[in-house]
Amino acid sequence: MRAQFVLSEIWIGLRRNATMTVALIVVMTISLLFLGGSLLVGKQVDHMKGYWYDKVEVTVYLCGETSSAGNCGGKEVTNDQRQQIGKDLAATPQVERVFYESKQQAYARFKEQFKDSPDLVANVTPDALPESYRVKLHDPKQFDVVASAFQDRPGVDTVQDLKKLLEPVFKVLDGVSFGVLLFSGIMLFAAILLIAIMIRVSTFSRRREIGIMRLVGASNLYIQLPFLLEGAIAGLVGGVLASGFLAVSKWFIVDQRLRQYIKFTTFIGWGDVFAVIPVMVLTGVLISLVASYLSLLRYLRV
């Protein structure tokens, strides 16, 4: 096998189909960029889950004067009820820790949370906020056990699960990730069709050479290799370009924008980007190779 000969054949082939090669690289780049994007969104969801599930609490709100829940009966929780609930929560095996939050503490937290909206804070007094037990579970999935045990207790207004509140957010992000992946798949399909056309055109434009190669006994590999490598190179270039764009996007969108404005979660880091890049490049190269090979079987009878 003479590398120089194969390389010059590849170069001739790529140059002869320059327009098509550029089209293939562009489509490859876009599809791989979206593939990488989808993987990164997925990783971001994992980050957020890790961050939030670590903090997830079940909040047992106690009845206040304004509570409308049935088992409050319009009355504020009594001291006995409050103490009993606290003891029982602590005794529940699924519970890891219990904190009590008074109206004053709730108000302090409220003020901190909404410090950007002074009008809202001004309209709320400590009495308007419910007191609560903040419960940390060993396993956040065990929420239902706690909820059913305390939901109907006298003095309990509602039991609220932070995880249930967050779930829709994660669902949306998972949906985004899937949508992007789907789009990437469609683009990859277009790339595969382009490869098929490219192989068809380049085998046609090189039919004389191929005919002579067959005649003088060149091995199948020798005949096919330039075509396979042409596709692989386009896939590789697409993968590298897409990786570059992905890194720039990560820097521009996450580091320059989101991280500045959104403080309540952690974000993907460069480690995540570098974990995704090999996947993109390999996908580009492998898809090109397989598509080229299948097209060759069809258009190049050896």
Binding site: R2, I212, L215, V216, G217
Partner: protein, 229 residues
Amino acid sequence: MIRLENVSKSYPTSTRPALDGVDVEIEKGEFVFLVGSSGSGKSTFLRLLLKEDTPSTGRVHVLGKDLARLSPWKVPALRRQIGCVFQDFRLLPNKTVTQNVAFALEVIGKPRGTIEKVVPEVLQLVGLEGKGGRMPDELSGGEQQRVAVARAFVNRPMLLIADEPTGNLDPTTSVGIMKLLDRINRTGTTVVMATHDAQIVDSMRRRVVELSQGKVVRDQSRGVYGYGA
């Protein structure tokens, strides 16, 4: 060298078989003319030798191998021992004479040193010394066919197959090509040549196999083109 045993070949598009029960044996070092009118099966005969096609029935042995049992990936190795020349030369128009001949060696992975040594030798053998840098369209038809012969012979094949190599050439030029093929035959290479050129067959006086409607109707050593000719 070559043995066809009761070989028939039918194409799905034709009612009459292209070859019909052909038995031919060709020894090493022979020079054989394959004659017959158009459609008599000459081209099919040659295609079977290269395993470009497989017979419908019967066996084809080439260079000691039963082609029916030759696995597809061994076909290239077979073709490396067979040189081919065609009526239409089949040169690559964008390569020089030297590059055209070298191409045949490059694509079978010969080292560059070998190529640089044997290409000028074979160009000299076919009488094209000094024309290695020319493009095919700068050459006469006879010269182009010499390039094709050089390409077919550069790997020193055991067998040379020529499909009407003089079909596009004038009689004088044809004689030159035939002298060249004769010279190659004298080095021990078996030559099988399909032709319509009665003058050449009659002047060479070599073995003649005549095909008609896919059957061998004559097999004669030191033969002539046809009884009527």
